[in-house]
C-alpha cells in the first residue's frame, strides 16, 4: 500500500527522511534516534523536516521541537563547515581552557553569543567533557582530538585550516 506521506516530485528532499522514518517503524518512541539520523544527514535539523517528522509520526510539532531543543546534541541552526569544540570539563577548566576559547574566538572574530562565523566556515562551541581528561586542556577540530593545548596552539590549528581552505 502506498503511504500517504510517500514523497512525490515536490517532496524529493524528504526522501532520506522517509527512509529514516521507515527504518524506525514510524514509532514516536524512536524520536531521538530518528532525529539523530536526520541530523547526520543534514548536519542540523531544518524546521520543515521537523514538521514533516511530526506529521509522519502523528505527534504534535511541539513535541518534536521540544525534544529537538532539549538535547544539546541537536542543532536547529546550520553549523559551519569546520567544527571546533573546546572541552570545558572540570579537568580542562582547571588547566585554563577558557583562555584558549577566548583566543580562538578572537581570531575568528566571534563576539557575544555568536558561535558560527559569517562565512559559515567555522562553528566554535564548548562541550562539558570529552573524556580525554588525561590530556587536558583538549580541543577537538572536526573530530580530531588535540591534547595539552595552549591559546597559541589553538589559534594555530584554526590558522592551518584557514590556510588549507584558501589554497
Amino acid at each position: 500500500m502506498r503511504h500517504p506521506l510517500t514523497p512525490d516530485g515536490n517532496g524529493r528532499k524528504f526522501v532520506k527522511v522517509f527512509t529514516i522514518l521507515e527504518k524506525h517503524g514510524r514509532k514516536p518512541s524512536r524520536l531521538v534516534p530518528i532525529l539523530q539520523a536526520v541530523q547526520e544527514e543534514y548536519r542540523y535539523l531544518p524546521e520543515e523536516v521537523l514538521t514533516y517528522v511530526a506529521t509522519a509520526l502523528d505527534v504534535s510539532p511541539a513535541r518534536v521541537f521540544g525534544v529537538a531543543t532539549f538535547y544539546s546534541h541537536f542543532a536547529i541552526k546550520p553549523k559551519g563547515k569546520h567544527i571546533v569544540r573546546l572541552c570545558d570539563g572540570t579537568a580542562c577548566h582547571v588547566k585554563d581552557s577558557i583562555p584558549i576559547l577566548d583566543a580562538i574566538r578572537k581570531r575568528l572574530k566571534l563576539e557575544g553569543k555568536k558561535a558560527t562565523t559569517d562565512d559559515m566556515m567555522f562553528t566554535v562551541e564548548t562541550v562539558a567533557c570529552l573524556g580525554a581528561c588525561g590530556l587536558a586542556p583538549v580541543v577537538v577540530v572536526d573530530d580530531q582530538v588535540h591534547g595539552q593545548m595552549t591559546p597559541e596552539n589553538g589559534v594555530k590549528l584554526v590558522e592551518e585550516i584557514i590556510a588549507k581552505e584558501q589554497s
Binding site: 572540570t90 579537568a91 573524556g131 590530556l135
Partner: protein, 628 residues
C-alpha cells in the same frame, strides 16, 4: 557457532605452549590523540620488514611468533602513547613513530630494553621497566580495568579466552534468579554510578515484581565533566559490561536490555555495538540465549547530550522518545519503569563488578574495600597532578595515597611537582564537593565522603593546586548545573540561575555580606525543593567551598581581592621588585605595553593600561609577577 565455544576456548585448554610475544599499543582516547594509530602502522611496517612472523588477530593457540594489537585505555594517559611488550612486561612511554624501528631491532629482535623510552620515576630518578615497578600502577588493584589494556576490545574470542562469559553462562544455565540476587546482595556491591545504592536490593525489588515484561538498562551516560571511567571500560573491555548486563537480566527475569551511551563517546558506542553483534552471532544473545530456551536481547542507544539523563527516570523518558525530564519517585523504576514495566538501571562499572562476583563469589569480592563499601572503585584522576589517568583502588584508600602517591603529587602551572602545592580535590563532579588538606587521610568510601559534604559520584577526582580560586570553581559547576537543569522544578531552574548570578557578583566584586547569606539560604532551598539528584546536589559545590574556603569568599566580598589572582575583575597584577631581575621578558610579552622598566632593574605595571591577561605571569621565570 553456538554457546559451546565456551568449552572449546576454556582458558585452561588453550595456549599450552610457551607464551606468545605480544606488542600492545594503547588506543584509548588519550593515546590516539597523541598519535597511537600512526605508531601501530609503524609497528606493522617495521615488524614485517624485520621478517618477524606476525599476526594481529587473536588465536587460542599461538600460531605466530608475535601478535600486535591495539587495546583500550591502559590508564597512564599522561605518558601516552603507551606500548606494552609481553611477556617481557616492558612498558614504553610517549612512543613516537620514529622510535618504533629501535624498539623492533633492540627489543623484539635483540631482546634488550630501550632505556630512554622507559618511565622515569621523578622522585627516585629510577628507570621503571614495566607496570610492576611504576608507582602509578604498583599501588593500584585493578579488577574492572584488569583486562582493559591487554585484550583486543574487538575480539570476543580473546575475552572468552580470559574466562569471559563463564559467569553469564553459569547465571543463565545453572543459577536460579534468587541465587543470583542473593550472591549480589551478599557481596554488598553498591551502585558505582553515584548514590551507592545496594545493587542486590535494587535487583530484588525488580525480581519480585510479577510482570511478564521487564527491562534492564545499562547507564553509560557518563555526564560528570572530568570523569571517563565508564568510557574507558566500554572502550577497553566492552564484553565485560555486556556480560554483567546479561546476568542482571537473568536475575530479574528481563528479556530486553538497553545500553544508553553518551553521544560524546563515539568509540565507546562503536565498540559496544560490535560487542553486541558478536555476542548475537555466538548465540549468547538472541531468542535462545546460551541455549537456555529464553530470549535475551540488547540494543545500544546513543544519548543526545543531556546531563540530566544520567538520572534514572529521566533516562527512561529519553528512551521513550520524550524530553529527558525526571519524574517523582515512588513508584521506583524497579516497580514501574520503562513503558511502565519493572526496570533496573545499573552503571557500567557496577555491571562489570557483577561479573566478578558471580565468577569468584561474594566472599572473594568482599576481601577488598571496607565493610560498608566492599570492592574496588575506578577513579579518573585529573587536574593538577603529575600522573593523570585512570586508576582503580579498593574503597577505603586514603586521599593522600591516591593524589600524592599514585598521582605523583600536585603540579604547578608549568607542570612541575610542588611538594606543598595541594589545595583541594573536587570529587563527584557537579554533584560532589571538595576535600581539603585536612581530609588527606580520609579513607575514600561512600559514607565517609557523605559525612564531609562530598560524594563518590561516578568517580571523577580533580586535583587543584594553590593557584586555583575556589569561588571560580564553585561558579564553574553552578554554570554547568544551571545549563543542564531540565527546567521542571522551579527551585532548580530559577534557583541555580540566581546562585550563578550571585557567584558572578562575588567574582566581579559587586557582592556584599548579604549576598553570601542569601546564597547560603537559597542553596539549601534548592536542595530541598528539587525532584531529582541533579537539583538536590547542584548546590553542593557552593556549600562545600563555603564550608572549607569561607576566607576566600570573604576576601572577594569584603576586600574585593582574589587571593589567587584568578578572578580578572579583582586582579591587580604587580611586580615584586625584590624578585624581579629586570630581564624584560614580561615587557616584551605584554600585548598592551603596560609594563615598563629598564634592563636589569625592577619593572612596573601600569594598572590603567593593564588588561589582566596574565601573559606576564606566565612568562616570568622568577615568579615576580603577583596578583594574577
Amino acid at each position: 557457532m553456538s554457546a559451546n565455544i565456551l568449552n572449546i576456548l576454556d582458558p585452561a585448554a588453550g595456549n599450552g605452549g610457551k607464551p606468545q610475544r605480544r606488542v600492545i599499543v594503547c588506543a584509548g582516547t588519550g593515546c590516539v590523540a597523541n598519535g597511537a594509530y600512526n605508531v601501530i602502522k609503524a609497528f606493522e611496517q617495521q615488524i614485517k620488514a624485520a621478517g618477524i612472523n606476525v599476526t594481529t588477530e587473536f588465536k587460542p593457540e599461538a600460531t605466530r611468533d608475535l601478535r600486535l594489537n591495539k587495546s583500550g585505555c591502559q590508564g597512564f594517559c599522561q605518558m601516552g602513547p603507551l606500548v606494552t611488550i609481553l611477556p617481557d612486561e616492558i612498558l614504553y612511554n610517549k612512543v613516537k613513530t620514529e622510535d618504533v624501528a629501535e624498539i623492533v631491532s633492540q627489543t623484539l629482535v635483540g631482546g634488550k630494553v630501550v632505556d630512554r623510552l622507559l618511565y622515569v620515576d621523578p622522585a627516585t630518578k629510577k628507570h621503571c621497566k614495566g607496570i610492576s615497578d611504576i608507582p602509578f600502577y604498583q599501588r593500584q588493584q585493578r579488577f574492572v580495568l584488569k583486562e582493559c589494556g591487554t585484550i583486543d576490545p574487538e575480539s570476543l574470542h580473546e575475552y572468552i579466552h580470559h574466562g569471559g562469559y563463564a559467569a553469564a553462562k553459569k547465571a543463565i544455565l545453572k543459577m536460579t534468579q534468587e541465587e543470583i540476587v542473593q550472591e549480589i546482595t551478599k557481596s554488598g556491591l553498591r551502585g558505582r554510578g553515584g548514590g551507592g545504592f545496594p545493587t542486590g536490593r535494587k535487583w530484588e525489588a525488580a525480581r519480585t515484581q510479577k510482570n511478564a515484561k521487564k527491562y534492564v538498562i545499562c547507564n553509560a551516560d557518563e555526564g560528570d565533566p572530568g570523569a571517563f571511567m565508564n568510557r574507558s571500560v566500554m572502550e577497553g573491555n566492552p564484553h565485560s559490561v555486556l556480560e554483567g548486563l546479561m546476568i542482571a537480566a537473568r536475575a530479574i527475569g528481563a528479556d530486553e536490555t538497553f545500553i544508553y551511551v553518551r553521544a560524546e563517546y563515539p568509540l565507546a558506542v562503536a565498540r559496544m555495538r560490535r560487542a553486541v553483534e558478536d555476542a548475537q552471532k555466538m548465540g549468547f544473545l538472541g531468542d535462545n540465549a546460551f541455549g537456555s530456551g529464553q530470549a535475551l536481547n540488547c540494543e545500544v542507544l546513543e544519548g543526545a547530550g543531556a546531563f540530566v539523563c544520567g538520572e534514572e527516570t529521566a533516562m527512561i523518558a529519553s528512551i521513550e522518545g520524550q524530553r529527558g525530564m525526571p519524574r517523582p519517585k515512588p513508584p521506583f523504576p524497579a516497580q514501574s519503569g520503562l513503558w511502565g514495566k519493572p526496570t533496573i538501571i545499573n552503571n557500567v562499572e557496577t555491571l562489570a563488578h557483577v561479573v566478578r562476583v558471580i565468577n569468584q563469589g561474594a566472599d572473594v569480592f568482599r576481601q577488598l574495600g571496607s565493610t560498608a563499601s566492599p570492592g574496588t572503585k575506578t577513579f579518573a584522576l585529573t587536574g593538577h597532578v603529575a600522573n593523570t589517568g585512570l586508576i582503580e583502588v579498593p574503597f577505603g584508600t586514603t586521599l593522600r595515597e591516591v593524589v600524592l602517591n599514585i598521582g605523583g603529587g600536585i603540579t604547578d602551572r608549568r607542570g612541575k611537582v610542588k611538594p606543598d602545592g595541594f589545595k583541594a580535590v573536587q570529587i563527584g563532579g557537579p554533584s560532589g564537593g571538595c576535600l581539603t588538606k585536612e581530609h588527606l587521610d580520609l579513607p575514600l568510601d561512600y559514607d565517609s565522603l557523605r559525612n564531609v559534604g562530598a560524594m563518590v559520584g561516578s568517580g571523577g577526582l580533580v586535583a587543584m593546586n594553590e593557584k586555583t580560586c575556589m569561588v571560580s570553581i564553585a561558579r564553574f559547576f553552578m554554570d554547568f548545573t544551571q545549563r543542564e537543569s531540565c527546567g521542571k522544578c522551579v527551585l532548580c531552574r530559577e534557583g541555580t540561575r540566581q546562585l550563578l548570578s550571585m557567584l558572578d557578583e562575588i567574582i566581579e566584586g559587586r557582592a556584599t555580606g548579604e549576598t553570601l547569606d542569601s546564597m547560603e539560604k537559597l542553596a539549601h532551598a534548592v536542595q530541598k525543593g528539587s525532584l531529582c539528584g541533579l537539583g538536590k546536589t547542584a548546590p553542593n559545590p557552593v556549600l562545600s567551598t563555603l564550608r572549607y574556603f569561607r576566607h576566600e569568599y570573604d576576601a572577594h566580598v569584603f576586600h574585593k581581592h582574589c587571593p589567587t589572582g584568578q578572578c580578572k575583575a579583582l586582579a591587580k597584577p604587580s611586580i615584586d621588585p625584590v624578585k624581579c631581575k629586570g630581564c624584560t621578558a614580561c615587557a616584551r610579552k605584554c600585548p598592551v605595553g603596560a609594563i615598563t622598566g629598564e634592563k636589569k632593574k625592577a619593572h612596573v605595571i601600569d594598572q590603567i593600561k593593564c588588561i589582566v591577561c596574565g601573559a606576564c605571569a606566565d612568562t616570568c621565570k622568577f615568579e615576580a609577577v603577583v596578583g594574577v
